[in-house]
Structures are given as structure tokens and as C-alpha cells.
Amino acid sequence: MIIPAAQVDGLDKEFGTTRVLDRINLTIPAGQVTCLIGPSGSGKSTLLRCIAMLEEPSAGIISVGGRPLGFSLENGKRVKLPTAHNREVRGQIGMVFQQFNLWPHMTALGNVAEALKTVRRMPKAQANEIAGQKLDEVGLAHRRDYYPAQLSGGQQQRVAIARALALEPKLMLFDEPTSSLDPELTGEVLNVMRKLAEQGMSMIVVSHEIGFVASVASKVVFLDHGRVVLDGTPQEVFAKPRHPRLAQFLDTYLDREAVMLA
């Protein structure tokens, strides 16, 4: 059996009394792109952040590459895993944020090389060489000495992708990577992601770019009110007759598109 890139079993997340994720069960296939779609507040970002260990699940187990992350199940009881274990498993995950979150006091190269130097304890020259290669892969070799403030949003997001790739992750998480970009800058970021998908990277993408989702994803998960409503191939999910809630979601989405085009 092929080990899935990630596995989510019975995941709950509550903020106070609000249940944001409700019994999520999900298998993220390796070497493929899984897209999470759904209206805002449906829990898709929270789900992604739980997998990235940025939120602690209230219940349930997440495993990445076949190894539990954060908590494991022992004799039916959920136990916290040691920090060293979590750090190692988490090291296989790369995360890309909506707001890029580049460190403003470091150059593009510095951002990409940082974890290689401080976490992987690589000599500076070697770290910079790898960082340079990663920047080249996202088409920004010529911007290596620029600071984030000197880069466009699309360029910043590509640097952020290079930063995540520098650690050779097995699974890449994208949290609305193009949502804070001008429409004309989304293409360059989506192209980098498309290239990554072609190379066989396991990816989970939260996105409102329905076109990208339909063309790149091998699996689409539609979330609503913290629950998985639909889970299948793009053909299955987008096929007609549509699930009523998805139809409603896509309609408002298409309305917005129409307004933008008008």
C-alpha cells in the first residue's frame, strides 16, 4: 500500500464554544494535488493550519508520511508526542501563507537560506548556494539580493515558496496563496505551483482559484460549516447535478467573476 502524504482522522477543532472543524476524515494522496474549497468560515484554513501544527486540534489524529504529528493514539488514548518527534515530522511539511510572511529584514536569499543555516546548521556558503538554486526554480535568481519591501506581491510569494522548498519538504501546504495578490500577479504564482505539481510534489491547496483547482487538482474537498461535504476528483465534484450547497457556493463565485469581467 502506498503511504498517503497525510491522513486526518476524526479531527475536531474548537475555538471556545465554536466548533470550526467537525469530525474531519481525509486522506491526502502522495504525489498529487488536493484542493480544499468552501465558503469563508468553512474551516479550510483551520484544517490546513492544524496539519501545519499552527493550531492544536481539539480531538483527532493527523499523520504525515505515515507518522503521527502532534498527538498519537495509544491504547485508544490520545497522547501528546515529544517536541523532538514533532519537529522532525513537521520538517517534512512546507507552508505557504496568504500574507507571504517573509522576514522583512532579510533579503530574498536570506529568507530562503535562514532555516538551512539555523535549523539544518549548514555552512553559510552551502546554504546560500541551495537558496540560490531554489530562487532560480521560482524564477527569481535575479532578485536574490532584494528585500521583501522591494519585491512585488507575486515575487514575494514565490520567494516564500522557495523558502519552503529549501528544506526539501515531502508535503507542501498552500493557504490561499494568491488571495492577497492583484489579479495580474496570480498567474506567476500559480505557474510555480503548477510546475511543482508536475514534478510530483504532494500538495494541499486552499484556494478560490476554481480554474486552477479544476485543472491541477486530482482531488477536491468541499468543506462547509467545518464538515467535509464532498470529496472526490474534480470531475466528480464539479459534475452536474451539483450538490446544492456547492452549487450555491459556485454560483456566488461565478457572479463575482461576472462582475469583475463586466
Partner: protein, 221 residues
């Protein structure tokens, strides 16, 4: 009576030494303030409830009382609790503590102002809490607090004058001494004001230059 600057200026070498003393006091106190301020800010952000309360009270007390009184309390009251200090160390300690408490508040809000996402990005690539503090939080915070920090640095220059009351031979002590000797009080005090103003101006300019240089590191968002 006429305004006789020449009379005061005949004491130029003594004034020069006093100016050097003032600048020296300021630099040492400023560096110490930054160190103390960073320590208090970082401990207050990560420490336990008891330590936090103690530090908060210390900062409130220092900010809530005049520096002159703090200096008197340390210099004249210190011996009662076995803390007998010479003038210079007593003055420097009081000034550093004073500056440090003000700095700590600026640093604390500065650290809080670093976007949460920058820390999350660092956690995601595996930086430890210590590495995040050293590599991300502190450098970003320093850029953010530069204008407010410069203000405190400028204020500290003027507070050095208070050390004259315990006899530290800095500008105020020396020049007002010259005033008493020559009875040219107005000339002496005018010169004294100009000296402080010049120092403050230099400090403010350094701050502005640093701000401009560091503007490159500010986040665009």
C-alpha cells in the same frame, strides 16, 4: 551689566572635559538602558506571573516618580540597605535603570507589533523559540521601535544633568560652577543650554539617518 561670553569661554578646557563626561555618561547609560530594557521586555513576554508582576511594578514605579528623587533614594538611601556607591556608579546605575524601564515598554510593544505570521513562518521551517527571538523578533522589533527609542535616547541626554546634584562632574555641574565663580550665570546657563541642544540635535539626526537606512527592512504590507 553686559552679556560676557568671553568670560565663560575662558574656562573652555574644563567645559570640554565636562562635555566629554556628559557624552560618556550618556553612551554608557544608553547601552545599559537598551540591555536592561531588552531583558525586562523579553522576560515580561515569556516569564511567569510573579516575575511579571515584580517587573511591572518596577517599571511603574520608575515611570511614576521623578528621576531626581530616584537618584537621591539610590545615593542617600542605598547605604541603609547596604548599597553604598560612589557618585559616578550611583549616577550611572540610576540613569540606566530609569532609561531601561522606559526602553522596556517600547521594546515590549515593539515585539508585540511584529506580525504573528512572521513568527508562524519561522515555526514552520523549524526555528526554535530562542532562534525566533534572536533571528526574527528582535531584529524586526528594533526597526519598528527606532523612532520611539530615539526619543528615549534624547530624553536620557537631558536627564544626565540631574547627576550634577550628587556631584558628578558633568556639564551642568561644571558650567553652573563656573557661573557661581564668575557671577556670569546667564552666560553660563545659555552656553549650557546650547551644549545640550547640540547633543540632542546630533542624537536625533543619528536616529533619523538610521531610520532612513532601515526603511528598506520595513514590511511593505
Amino acid at each position: 551689566m553686559r552679556f560676557d561670553v568671553a568670560l565663560v569661554l575662558s574656562y573652555l578646557p574644563a567645559i570640554g572635559w565636562a562635555a566629554i563626561t556628559t557624552v560618556g555618561l550618556w553612551i554608557v547609560a544608553l547601552v545599559a538602558s537598551i540591555v536592561i530594557g531588552l531583558a525586562i521586555a523579553v522576560i515580561r513576554l515569556h516569564g511567569g506571573a510573579i516575575v511579571n508582576t515584580v517587573l511591572r511594578l518596577l517599571v511603574e514605579a520608575i515611570r511614576g516618580t521623578p528621576f531626581l528623587i530616584q537618584l537621591f533614594l539610590l545615593y542617600f538611601g542605598g547605604p541603609f540597605i547596604g548599597l553604598t556607591l560612589e557618585r559616578l556608579p550611583a549616577g550611572l546605575l540610576a540613569l540606566s535603570l530609569f532609561g531601561g524601564c522606559y526602553m522596556s515598554e517600547v521594546f515590549r510593544t515593539g515585539i508585540r507589533a511584529v506580525p504573528r505570521g512572521h513568527i508562524e513562518a519561522a515555526e514552520c521551517v523549524g526555528l526554535s523559540q530562542m532562534q525566533i527571538l534572536r533571528r526574527i523578533l528582535l531584529p524586526e522589533m528594533l526597526v519598528l521601535v527606532l523612532p520611539a527609542g530615539t526619543n528615549i535616547a534624547v530624553g536620557l541626554i537631558k536627564e544626565t544633568a540631574v547627576l550634577s546634584v550628587i556631584g558628578v562632574p558633568e556639564l551642568t555641574a561644571v558650567i553652573s560652577g563656573i557661573g557661581s565663580e564668575t557671577y556670569a550665570f546667564v552666560e553660563a546657563l545659555t552656553l549650557l543650554s546650547l551644549c545640550y541642544w547640540a547633543l540632542v540635535e546630533i542624537c536625533a539626526r543619528l536616529g533619523r539617518t538610521a531610520e532612513q537606512r532601515l526603511s528598506l527592512y520595513r514590511f511593505a504590507a
